[in-house]
């Protein structure tokens, strides 16, 4: 693996949470031409000036709950069609992999994974829950995805899954953009 591709955690002075996978930069020290960094994805550096970032390599470990759920997700590849005795379709490898990837990324932000289940048409859901805040992320067997966010049992968002939105929902729900 090249140095550029190594997974690193930012130790910057910018005060934003950093993911061990969504940001990739050169280990050691590097003068980065930024004034702000987002958490949405690679190359999401904007602005002008110079901030000295020090990085260190981190090998992230999943939380115990995420490990349990991930184990369950991977077990879905062993299901056969009609697994619920009602003509269900078993999830395919692509759907399982997409679910696992999202789960692992979300766990780096300590999002409260709660439950997973396969659906009747080969889809998989990841459910997150913390008190009155809930989220469902659906991975359909045609590759499409959907996320539903709840506050006190009321749907406050239905749309494209976004780690950023999910993070806002659980960490600062009042700031999250909720559009039904």
């Amino acid at each position: 693996m090249s140095a550029l591709a190594q997974r690193t955690k930012i130790k910057g002075e910018i005060g934003l949470p950093a993911s061990t996978t969504s940001l990739t930069c050169i280990p050691d020290e590097y003068d980065f031409p930024i004034v702000a960094a987002g958490i949405l994805g690679r190359g999401n550096f904007i602005g002008h000036g110079s901030i000295r970032l020090q990085t260190q390599q981190v090998f992230p470990d999943l939380s115990p709950r995420a490990k349990e759920v991930l184990f369950k997700v991977y077990s879905f590849v062993r299901l056969s069609n009609n697994w619920d005795n009602n003509n269900s379709i078993a999830p395919n490898q692509t759907t399982v992999d997409a679910t696992a990837t999202f789960l692992k990324e979300s766990d780096e932000y300590d999002l409260p994974i709660y439950f997973t289940a396969p659906g009747p048409n080969g889809e998989i859901v990841l459910e997150y829950k913390s008190g009155s805040l809930e989220a469902e992320v659906f991975f359909e067997n045609d590759g499409s995805t959907e996320m539903i966010l709840y506050i006190d049992g009321q749907q406050v968002y239905t749309g494209i899954p976004s780690l950023h939105l999910l993070l806002d929902h659980f960490i600062s729900p009042a700031k999250a953009i909720h559009v039904c």
Binding site: S75, A117, P120, N121, I148
Partner: protein, 120 residues
């Protein structure tokens, strides 16, 4: 001759059975996931039983593998869905919830479904 259909009242309770064997549609706290209320690809309506026309014992089917959840017709209609009595030859209580077309419909029904304590 087809069986006579009844009008489903808002107060009618509709029973839906959910797969309970691992992997399960039922969580550990006995709430149910939206998948229990999702249509399969070949379905046009979601099968339920009208509670007052059946018994839990008959509605649950395989008692080892299923659990029952109930939603009222009022809850179903509150999001624009319809429900219609569709008696079958072997199940007069059979009805269908119609127009479920997206995950948010299934999710809403699941969130509002109550666990039926059967078997006790």
């Amino acid at each position: 001759m087809s069986a006579e259909k009844i009008e489903i009242l808002n107060s009618d309770r509709l029973l839906r059975k959910a797969w309970f064997t691992n992997p399960s549609y039922v969580r550990e706290d006995m709430t149910v996931t939206s998948f229990a209320f999702k249509l399969r690809k070949d379905e046009t309506g979601l099968s339920v039983d009208i509670e007052r026309l059946t018994t839990y014992d008959k509605s649950i089917g395989d008692i080892e593998r299923n659990r029952l959840f109930v939603v009222t017709a009022e809850v179903v209609r509150s999001i624009g869905l319809e429900c219609e009595h569709m008696p079958l030859a072997d199940n007069y209580a059979h009805a269908e919830i119609l127009n479920i077309s997206k995950n948010s419909h299934s999710s809403f029904l699941a969130k509002n479904a109550k666990y039926v304590y059967f078997p006790v």
